[in-house]
Symmetry: C2
């Protein structure tokens, strides 16, 4: 049965979801909500949404509300959306943190109509013009604390991700936040610091980027990611990210110590251990 | 005028050069030298080289000798190759460090027949099967200490890179080593440490890589790079790499401190500063 869907936040993720949920037939009608007039116009022009409405009106007309704004905004909006959400409708979010968001509505009388989710996809770009078909295909989507949602709400969100051809994984919010701390948030922190270090060098050495090759571009790619999206992720997941950054700093210092002491054997072991990543990512 | 070329080391770089120098007509005949029988066979089967010869025989038949082995092996081979290099022939290398290699032959009577170079291209893969057409097209190739080579040798190597459609940059070896320390070697160190940190986490948490998305894959890509190639690079460029790693560690610690102290303003500034990298890499 086709659904009326509202997308709150017409960025890369919200826009890409809209495109494929419409294409797959899962959505009969897509309502867009965005505070930026520029995004509203782009989303209409690119046929990402069928209409633009204010938040309250959109939510009240929807079977599913997908909240795809930065995580600080999600945590403020969730309660407001649940307050006015029609009976039998579902709200889900796409935030890269889960514990804080769940905490924000844990005592809400309609909590069971909320399914916290996190599709593990994206690019370093943002806004409706960055939306892509197939962004979630064969990518993992995580649903957290599934037992706290109603069976019907859970079923709806599962079916939605099946229509996006995502692979579903179920886990508790705390494990989610730690895992993505390692495999997503840490990578962003590392990349931001690399960009800042090399940009500082550039101040006295304008030619430095002439030599930047594919290796540098790859490692620094995530440093292009928007501050609006990433600052609140770091802040909400601080409890996991801080110790993970410490672990990482220790590893890099270990590498440095081996190099400093000409410990070729240990340095070789370190690099060979790192090389094992090849087998891990090819599945 | 077409040249007879020897490629010492039939890996990704040597193999890719052979392919395009033959295709462009710059090379009339390509001789391969590799200590691994497997690489010799692959290079012949893939038509990367016309014949395989032992080092001495190959050098003595060549107009140009391209040394494309790990930098520790380059530094051992250069002198031996210069000893037997025909008059008017040229030897060049593709190593990612330059000062140590130049130092190794600085008093050689045929020093002016050596043109130290560094094509800034590559992938995380290695061996002849990883060779690619067009690997050097529109990429920077650096020639170091050009004044120490003969005009004829320099002209030959310049023409060779023009045939590979590379953009040539000239700089002194020390600047080269510092620059690539920042935009290449540091990225590799960062990426190796990320791989080691997450692989260690995996020991108690087998599911961690299920959540790895494109962001992680991008940042950790260089950690697949081979120990044979990279260990000697770090060792030879240690004098530049160690202080650069310290600068990087300071930046990441700065990021961590802002997060720890809930200094939203400073954290936002840090990320916005990092975002400036977007404009720098799009040229």
């Amino acid at each position: 049965m086709s659904k009326k869907i509202s997308i709150i936040g017409l960025g890369l993720i919200g826009g890409s979801m809209a495109l494929d949920l419409k294409k797959s037939g899962f959505a009969s009608h897509v309502i867009g909500v965005d505070k930026l007039e520029k995004h509203q116009k782009q989303a209409l022009n690119l046929s990402i949404v069928d209409e633009i409405l204010p938040l309250h009106e959109a939510v009240q007309k929807s079977d599913i509300v997908i909240v795809a704004v930065p995580v600080n905004a999600i945590s403020k909006l969730l309660s407001e959306i649940l307050d006015i959400l029609p009976e039998n409708a579902v709200v889900t979010d796409v935030g890269s943190t889960k514990s804080s968001l769940i905490e924000a509505v844990k005592n809400h009388p309609k909590r069971r109509q909320y399914v916290p989710a996190h599709p593990m996809s994206g690019t370093e770009n943002s806004g409706p013009a960055a939306a892509l078909h197939g962004l979630f295909r064969n990518k993992t989507a995580i649903i957290c604390n599934a037992a706290d949602a109603s069976k019907e709400a859970l079923e709806t969100v599962k079916t939605m991700y099946e229509n996006l051809e995502s692979k579903l994984v179920f886990m508790d919010a705390s494990s989610h936040d730690e895992h993505v701390g390692y495999v997503s948030h840490l990578s962003h922190a590392i990349s931001y610091a690399l960009a800042v270090a090399v940009l500082e060098k550039e101040k006295n050495d304008a030619a430095i980027f002439n030599l930047a090759s594919g290796g540098f571009s790859s490692t620094v790619r995530l440093a292009k990611s928007s501050v609006d999206m990433w600052l609140p992720i770091f802040e909400q997941n601080k409890a996991f990210i801080l110790p993970i950054i410490d672990i990482y700093l220790d590893k890099l210092k270990e590498f440095k110590t081996y190099l400093e002491h000409d410990d070729t054997e240990k340095l070789a072991e370190f690099i060979k251990e790192a090389n094992r990543i090849r087998g891990k990512l090819e599945h």
